[in-house]
């Protein structure tokens, strides 16, 4: 079972691969759109990569609720439990 920090770090790596944003900037309180400038299509790429990496399903309808990195990490944790 991955810890919150492990999921955050894994997600940060994916955000970095897709967008080039420094992985260290991808912290739980950061908003994907406001703080990190991840646009909606990059977000789809991150989500699909996260599904594969963490073995979860994140439907399109759910993506718009994942406003912060913490939201996404929480959703992945819930799915994995």
């Amino acid at each position: 079972m991955a810890t919150t920090e492990e999921i955050r770090a894994g997600l940060a790596e994916l955000v970095n691969e897709v967008t080039g944003i420094d992985a260290d900037d991808v912290q739980l309180d950061k908003s994907f759109t406001e703080d990190l400038d991840v646009d909606s299509l990059s977000m789809v790429e991150v989500v699909v990569a996260a599904e594969e990496k963490f073995g979860v399903t994140i439907p399109d309808d759910e993506v718009k609720n994942l406003k912060t990195v913490g939201d996404a990490v929480g959703y992945i944790e819930k799915q994995q439990s």
Binding site: S40, L41, M43, V44, E45, V48, D60
Partner: protein
Amino acid sequence: MIGPSDVPGIGPVVWGSDGEHYDHIRQREDWRDVVASHSPRMPHLTMKGNEVFRWATYEMAKVARETLDRSGVTVDDLDVFVPHQANMRIVDAMARALKLPPHVAIARDIAYQGNTSAASIPLALNAMVESGEAKPGDTALLIAFGAGLAYAAQVITVP
């Protein structure tokens, strides 16, 4: 124009439609209602952008892989990749999803001609041949997708 040849140049086509997503790209108003209305205006086309992006990138990557399998080639055998020129983001994301090796030339004709709809693949391939990015005899993967959601892909030898 396609004519007889002594050597195979066109691989099997993998195609279909994903009717479950019929409403992802659609025309909002019925033409009959538009014509019957007192102030007829052109019907609107609407698209669920994020959903289409996800489908076009990842579901189409699966179709692309199946097409390569059916044609007996791998991404390493490809010289050219010519996806439908819907938008650059899909082109880039699809190339990443397919893990195309760096030697594969990727069509980015949308930067010059925009989304030319059903003509985009032939126009893009022609532009690549004219610029020398693609040469006769090269192995190319073509893949198209659009409203329906419908799709088709095949491997060809560049004429």
